[in-house]
């Protein structure tokens, strides 16, 4: 049984920037017809907790650790840079499709 894919969106406090980014990512995925993906908001400590389930990690801060899944900067959802936002969504959609 396939578990839903997980896109984890994190920031330092888990309260503000990750909320913005997760909203943007959810909307973007929906607009691209991507289903069966869970978008979750968290803090940097949650990465370890979900490390086995994460397909894509979106973060609004600098993360130096290398993981098996792509780590994408989501600050464009905080600054309102629409072009960069589209770019982020495309990266996520492409990766999810290629790794179905």
């Amino acid at each position: 049984m396939n578990k839903k894919k997980l896109v984890l969106v994190v920031c330092g406090a888990g309260t503000l920037t990750s909320v913005m980014a997760s909203q943007g990512v959810e909307e973007g995925l929906k607009n691209n017809g991507v289903k069966d993906v869970e978008v979750k908001v968290g803090r940097i400590d949650d990465i370890e907790r979900f490390v086995d389930r994460i397909s894509v990690l979106v973060c609004t801060m600098n993360i130096r650790t290398k993981y098996d899944f792509p780590v994408i900067r989501g600050t464009a959802f905080v600054t309102g840079d629409e072009e960069a936002q589209e770019d982020i969504i495309n990266q996520i959609v492409t990766y999810l499709k290629e790794n179905e």
Binding site: A13, L16, V19, V78, T79, G80
Partner: protein, 153 residues
């Protein structure tokens, strides 16, 4: 999270003169602490967060900062705003090696962001607008700022 409590004149400071980001953060905290909107622990945690996860942002023509920390240090959700007489440097969220010269600093004291996604989204999107940031920078009274926000929120 009540909208009227989110933006209050007593949490706004205009032409604030401070030299360092720590001083700006402290000045904003003082306002929020005076109104009992945040706990004493809020200051130390915002300063700590800012060092590790900086909040400086470039929003097209404007450079701002949005210091904040976890909701557990907040009593009642509200946002303190300071326009600075002289820009103060904050490290950039996108690239901590870079600095922004913030002229507007907004201290977001949010109790539980997870349960108010729509509201937070509206607030941040409002502050992404050049007209709003320009209005904040050029406002002459706290009342003007409140009106501006009410207009755009």
């Amino acid at each position: 999270m009540e909208v009227e409590k989110l933006f209050q004149e007593k949490h706004i400071m205009m032409n604030l003169e401070r030299e360092t980001r720590e001083e700006v953060i402290t000045a904003l905290f003082d306002k929020l602490y005076a109104s009992n909107s945040v706990k004493e622990s809020f200051l130390e945690n915002v300063l700590k967060r800012e060092k590790v996860y900086p909040t400086g942002l470039k929003i097209k023509n404007f450079e701002i900062a949005i210091p904040h920390t976890e909701g557990v240090h907040v009593n009642e959700s509200t946002i303190a705003i300071a326009t600075l007489k002289t820009p103060v440097s904050f490290q950039c969220m996108e690239d901590p090696e870079e600095e922004v010269q913030a002229k507007i600093v907004m201290m977001m004291a949010l109790k539980d962001g997870h349960n108010h996604l729509q509201m937070i989204s509206r607030i941040v999107k409002m502050f992404q607008k050049q007209e709003v940031l320009s209005g904040l920078e050029h406002a002459e009274t706290e009342h003007e700022i409140i009106n501006l926000i009410q207009q755009y929120l």
